[in-house]
């Protein structure tokens, strides 16, 4: 892929010649898009230049079916705001360059995204600060004036009262399309969600869609440098992201601690302080049950793509073996039906 990237950048970088690509390697994770890192060097008017990049490329099949243009727009919407994101460089819808559509963004070095490192003693002094900042950023995401951002060009907002219907309908559809066996637990949760809808949000705002520990870059000092993985971003009820961050699967082995870093009540307080609102606990609970259903929709999508041979990503087989039942257990607990 080095030669293809070099050819592409030679056209995209103004006045560039002698473009060379080095250190190309695939980054672990990225179950929805292939994520690769590489260094590029080139000359402009005889002056040597270089930069580190990330390319996010569409896979043959994915855990989530998402629109790269939407992801690109959400990243772009937060450039220059208090929500840290990498700078977007190029969106390429044409598959001929790398064999699939992709986008390229700047690479932020010197950070990590490891989910469990934040639980180690090295972060004892900064862990609470990370959590506080994590939920303050979430509040900032939800109140972005998106109407004047790139988001407005790629999607419209649902009416406040329709946020839950749109999301639940989408993920129920994903379960309909992808389940390999009947899902009596997820279906019971969906019936409960339809029978007990949440109140409309005070405002409709950007929703990251996968806001959790594991999807941001942080430094050894505990500074959050970038919020990543916006592939499920949309407009909706900002509470959706808060609830998603509380899902059991993201506790990383530390029960009762979202992301393994903060008590749930402290997280809610940090969010409330930053957002200047009081979280409706019943609505939050609705979105937590919804999050479990959405999670099941994701795992079932990966399971079917692997079963049908559309994906050879082992992560899809692993999540279906490992997480579908775990997600069912989480649904039962969220509904007060756990063991």
């Amino acid at each position: 892929m080095e030669a293809e990237l070099a050819r592409y950048l030679a056209h995209r970088l103004e006045g560039a010649s002698e473009v060379t690509i080095s250190n190309l390697s695939r980054i672990p994770g990225g179950a929805s898009r292939e994520t690769w890192r590489f260094d590029a060097s080139w000359e402009v008017g005889g002056v040597a230049q270089s930069e580190g990049f990330i390319v996010r490329k569409d896979p043959p099949a994915s855990l989530v079916e998402s629109d790269r243009a939407v992801e690109y727009a959400f990243y772009g919407a937060f450039e220059g705001t208090s929500v840290p994101v990498p700078r977007m460089r190029w969106l390429e819808e044409e598959a001929s360059h790398l064999g699939a559509p992709f986008f390229i963004m700047e690479r932020i070095d010197g950070c990590e995204a490891n989910t469990r490192a934040l639980q180690t003693p090295a972060f004892d002094a900064s862990r609470d600060g990370v959590a506080r900042r994590f939920y303050a950023i979430l509040a900032e995401i939800g109140r972005l004036p998106w109407e004047s951002s790139p988001i407005a060009a790629v999607m419209g907002a649902p009416a406040p009262g329709d946020c839950w219907k749109r999301e639940l309908g989408y993920w129920e559809g994903m379960i309909d399309a992808n389940e390999l066996s009947p899902q009596p637990i997820a279906r019971a949760a969906i019936r409960w969600l339809r029978a007990n809808p949440p109140p409309p949000p005070a405002h409709v705002g950007p929703v990251h869609g996968d806001y959790r520990v594991g999807n941001f870059l942080y430094t050894r000092e505990g500074e959050i440098r970038a919020i990543l993985d916006w592939e499920m971003a949309h407009l909706g009820d900002p509470l959706e992201d808060l609830a998603w961050s509380f899902m059991e699967l993201w506790e990383w082995g530390r029960s009762g601690y979202p992301g393994g870093i903060v008590l749930t009540e402290d997280a809610i307080r940090y969010y409330e302080e930053a957002a200047g609102t009081t979280v409706d606990r019943d609505a939050l609970h609705w979105w937590l049950v919804f999050s479990c259903v959405k999670g099941q929709g994701i795992w079932l999508t990966g399971a079917r793509s692997f079963q049908e041979g559309r994906s050879r990503e082992l992560i899809h087989a692993f999540t279906s073996h490992n997480l579908i039942n775990t997600q069912d257990e989480a649904i039962l607990r969220a509904m007060g039906r756990g063991a």
Binding site: S25, P182, P184, A188, I315, F318, H321, L332
Partner: protein, 148 residues
């Protein structure tokens, strides 16, 4: 005598981690190898228990359906609940065949759950609780050791 499949699968998983992983340097390759080893471990566990798990669950579902048949208001559903026991006399013991039978019974459980939720009365509520008990038990049967 030869090593049984779970031992073989676990042996491959251990060999991958002990003999192959140390020679890898690319993070993505290391992650893929770790996932492959984990999958082999789960496949080993499932190989040994799958038939037993499916048969145990099918039997539990049929018992539940026999209890439900006189309670449900729909006579059509009641008939199908009574007929479900026929699923237990299949002669094809391949896991794929047992899974197909289980899918049919779990779909019927789902239909029963929907019907009983909408039905008033103490008998219906008690049956609903029994369905939730079975759903909880179904997750226990599918649990992998080593997964919290």
């Amino acid at each position: 005598m030869r090593p049984d499949p779970p031992k073989v699968l676990m042996g491959v998983a251990v060999a991958l981690m002990a003999d192959v992983a140390p020679g890898l340097s690319a993070p993505f390759a290391m992650q893929s190898l770790g996932i492959a080893a984990g999958l082999l471990g789960m496949a080993a566990e499932e190989f040994d228990r799958a038939a037993s798990r499916l048969v145990e669950e099918d039997r539990a579902l049929v018992v539940l359906f026999e209890r439900a048949a006189p309670v449900v208001a729909s006579q059509g559903l009641a008939s199908r609940l009574r007929e479900a026991a026929a699923r237990l006399v299949g002669v094809d013991l391949r896991v794929s065949a047992l899974q197909r039978d289980n899918d049919v019974l779990r779909a019927l459980l789902l239909e029963l759950h929907v019907a009983i939720e909408a039905q008033p009365g103490a008998d219906a509520r008690a049956l609903e609780e029994a369905i939730w008990d079975e759903l909880r038990e179904s997750t226990r049967r599918r649990h992998f050791s080593g997964v919290r």
